[in-house]
Each structure stands twice: as C-alpha cells, then as structure tokens.
Amino acid sequence: MKRAHYDLVVVGTGFASSFFLKKYLSKAKPDQKILVLERGHFYPHEERLKAKRKEPTDYQKYEEPWEKAINNHSTYKKWPFTTGLGGCSNCWWGCTPRFMPNDFKMKTLYGIGEDWPIDYDDLDAYYYEAEDLMHVSGPEGTPFPRVGKYPLPAHEFSVVDKILHRKYGNQYISQPTARASRSTVGRNRCMTSSTCDTCPVNAKFTIENSNLGVYEDERVELVYGAQVYSLEFVGDMVKKVYFKQEGKEQSIGGEVIVLGANPFFNTNILQNAGDQNPFVGKGVGEQLGVQVLIYLDNMSNAGGSTWVNANGYMLYDGDHRKDFAACLMEVSNAPYYIRLERGKYLNIASFRLLFEDIPLDDNYVKHTANKFVPDVFHTKRSDYTFKALDNMKQKLPDILSCLPVEKLKFLDPFPNEGHIIGGTRMSADPKLGVVDKYMIHHQYRNLFVLGAGAFTTYSASNPTLTLSAMSLFAADKVF
C-alpha cells in the first residue's frame, strides 16, 4: 500500500464494485485516492482458455475452489463462484433481463416479503447505462418498460422461438444478454457454444474485457491477494479494514468503505466486525431452476445464435404471486440436448424455468472461528416456490399447445443457478434490513454493502444487470 489512509477503500472487483467505481470515478476529484483490495489475482481469459484446453498455464494456481472458501452445510445446494479480478464475471453466463417493475413491490401488490426502498423508475436510467456498458444484445419490445434499441441487435430466434413469439408477443422475447450478437469492442460474436462460464470465443462481457477503465485509472491502487475479513467500528463509523496478504495480517484506513465481495463474504466481514444487525446473514438463497425437455413431433428446432435464445414471461407476473412465485423461462438450444432417434436429432427444445424464492431465516450465513471461511446454511425452499413449480407443470402443456409436442420430460432441480442473493437486505426502515436505498449501512454511515446481498426480495430474473444498475445508482446519488 502506498498510503495509510484512503478516500475510498473498495473490497472486491466483481460487478458490484466495478460498476460502483465506474460511476464514482466519473464524479470524484482528480486527487482522490482509492484502494481496491482483491482476494484473488488476475487470471487472464487467454490463460483460462489454456486450462480448458488442458495446456499448461502458470495461472491455474489462482483457481480457488468455492467449496474450500465456504463451509456449505446444505445437502442439495451448491454455490459456485469465482474469485480474482472480475469476480463472478469470469463464471457468469451473461443473462441480463431487467427486473419487472412489480418485483420491487412484492408486499404492497402481493403481500409477500417486503417492498424495496427503490423501484423500477429509480433504476431505469441506470439500467440503460449498465446495458450500454455491457453492450447488451436485445430486442425492441420487452415485457418490462424500455424504450428504444439495445446497444446490440437481438439474437436470432430458433423455429420454436418464432412460433412462441408469434403467439405471445413481448411476453416471449429474444433474451437480453451480455453474450454479443455482433462483434463489439473487445469481444467476438457468440458462437452458441453453451459453455459460457469461460467463453471459448470471448463473446461474453467480463470485467477483464469490459473497457470500463476503472482499474487503469491513476487514482486507483489495486492490490491482489488481499483477503478482507473484518472492519474496525468506532462509534457508528468504520475506521479500518482488516485483511491478510501474503500471510501477514494488516489494516488500512478509509473515509468511505465499500464492501463489494459476494454476499457470503460481505456478511462474514460484517459479522467478524461485530455488526449486531439481526438481518446480517439472514435470508440467503437464489431462484429454483428446473429444466424441461420438449420433444417435438416432426419439427426441427434449428436456429438460434446464443445459449439462451429467448425468455418467456407467460408465468411471471400477475395476481398469482399472492399465492405462488413468478417463473421466468429461459429457452436454450444447447448441444447436449440432441436426440438420438433416427431423423429426430434436433426435434427438441429445452426450457430452464427459474422460480423466485423468498428470503427465509432458515437460510443463513454465519461467521466461524476461522475468520476467513463462513458457514452457509440453506435448509429449505419456500412453499411459495414449490407451489409455482406445481402450477407450471399444470400450465405448461397449454402454453405450449401451439407446438407439436410429443412429450415433456422434467429433470430434477438444479443444485445452483449461480446467483447468490440476500444476507444484507435493503430496507427503508432500519428495523427491517441492513442497508438503505443507496446500499449504505443503516448504522455505519460511511459503509456501502453492495451486490445481490442487498436485494430485498429475489425476483425470478437473473440478478447481475440489476445489481450493476444499483451500484451505478448508489454512486451517482451519493457522490
């Protein structure tokens, strides 16, 4: 570290931190001093590709198995995530639908959970900005309010997509995605490989290929291998950040502190620091994902230009959310779903159905005697979610009645969706959450706690675009 004290100390380099910094740097004075502490290292995409090709690379030593970074106490849940520069941008699959406006008002409209202290309109301008920064590909005409074209054209439909779009209009759209539909700055066109965690052709937005410019900014000092584990509270302020680097425990001072690690570690840092807020660590979870294979009679489902071609909203919003969860359909044409019957190889479609869940106290993060490795407990799904699963199984045949369906095959629920949500929930009332609408801690007013941990409720939609927009919003409104 070049200094003992910084204007801003940021923990983590994933979406939440990077988009926050992008906006902050656009407003900060030229002499501002910013320290970024990243627990991992820079593992370039080119080197990740070598590892996938089983070629030697010195960088593979930087891969940190998620199973060793947390104590996962669930028998049915997995929580894959990536550490290092760019965080989970290195393993996400690039799905960027916006939330629906009603996702922010679950209590008022449906009597479920709590309302967010922000709404769709608050985030609208920042959604556009995040979409521009990610060069999102998407259609004109969406189920959520959005005017104009996306930065890149929509991906191509398959045969099944065309039929469903014709029937359902903007309730069935080409998926808005950060998997490029055209070559763009720093990225190639998606080749539909369906192995998006490490994109074979670098078509997916990552922090590394983003051209955000935040870590090249002269005001920013980026330190790798620095694992933050606690904070020093003095009164209602954070004075220091504690971390370990190269086996040595250290601390650094800051005027403003930003926790942008994933929800498990943001929670762990707060608990280690002695935060007594009862909601810290509570209600962690994610959507429930179930795959259904749709066998088609005498219809090839060829076409499509990315892994998830389309999103269906036919089971998403409405009064049913008083009783059971929203469901977002992700429609994909992945190579592993080809059929083997002679002449029917491509006569299949596959839907991944994402069901929102609600934050339950039974699902939580708890710091341990090992200050670096928290316990993660996920002990149950809500009945609200399971009822939606049952409803989907009843409704889907009718929804698909415009297709020549031979049979439907439902697969077992996935153990993960790659979305870690909750643990530092946002609330208007300090008694009902950890952070306020700007993701500033209700008690420690120089502390931001960013990311999907701040979501008040989960939504059925993929979280990354929304958490990125929230970071832009917070930095814009506060500085």
Binding site: K52, I163, S193, G303, G304, Y336, Y345
Partner: protein, 142 residues
C-alpha cells in the same frame, strides 16, 4: 446427457478435480462393447472404418465412471439400448457431436468421420442447433 455431465466431458465443470491417468485404465473388453453399442445403434449410418475405435479410446480417457463400465458387456447382450441407459446415451450422443455428422446437416448418405472429442475449446464442431449451421435465412416461421 445433462448439462453437468456435458460440462465434465468438455472439461469445463466448475470445481473439477484432476484425476490421475492411471484411474482411466479401461479393459479392451469394455471398449470393445462400447464400439459394438455405437455400431449397433447407428447401423443406418456409414461410419468411417476405425473411427469408432479411435473415438472410444479417447472417450474413455475423459470419463471416470468405472462402476458403470463393467456392466456394458451384460447390457450389450441383454440388448439394452440408449433409451434405458444414460451411459449408452452419452456415449452415442458424444460420438455424433465429435463427428462431422452435424456439419454435414445430418445427411445419412455421407460417411460419418470422427473429428476428435467434442470440445467448444478445441474441436471444429459447432452447436448442432445453431446459426453457424442453420443461418437465419434457412429458419422457417414454423
């Protein structure tokens, strides 16, 4: 083949572990029946001579389900097909994905040639559904 198994086969599963090559030893008998399965299930295709053997050799260096393998001989003689065995389903699906079958637009009159184990990171075989093989101009309105 589900997504998880596919990711393991293509070497991209998150949190995968390195497995010593000695673990991959498979008897010639097992490989023989794997070849026979493919040839029987795809008997309507013209398979390039020797290519299935080469594929099976390479396939078994990438998978690690030893317990299931020992049943293959029995499954072959009991006429168990891919409809009842995920192992056989995966073996045959992965063979087609590793060949030029989809590049040739599933033309059964053309000889099927093995191009190397399917991998988005190495092989020339694209997603069989996608625009690279089926450009938008060819996609009907359904």
């Amino acid at each position: 083949m589900d997504r998880r198994k596919f990711l393991i086969l293509t070497g991209v599963a998150i949190g995968g572990v390195a497995i010593p090559s000695s673990v991959f030893f498979v008897s010639n008998s097992v490989k023989k029946y794997a070849v026979l399965f493919i040839e029987r299930e795809l008997d309507y295709l013209i398979l390039e001579p020797g290519s299935v053997v080469k594929y099976v050799d390479e396939y078994f260096t990438q998978t690690n389900n030893l317990l299931e393998r020992v049943k293959w001989k029995a499954m072959y003689y009991l006429h168990v097909g891919w409809q009842k065995s995920d192992q056989i389903l995966e073996l045959i699906k992965y063979y087609l994905l590793s060949s030029d079958f989809f590049i040739n637009k599933m033309d059964e009159s053309k000889m099927v040639k093995y191009l190397g184990l399917y991998s988005p990171y190495k092989s020339p075989v694209p997603n069989p559904f996608a625009y690279t093989l089926h450009p938008p101009s060819e996609i009907k309105n359904g």
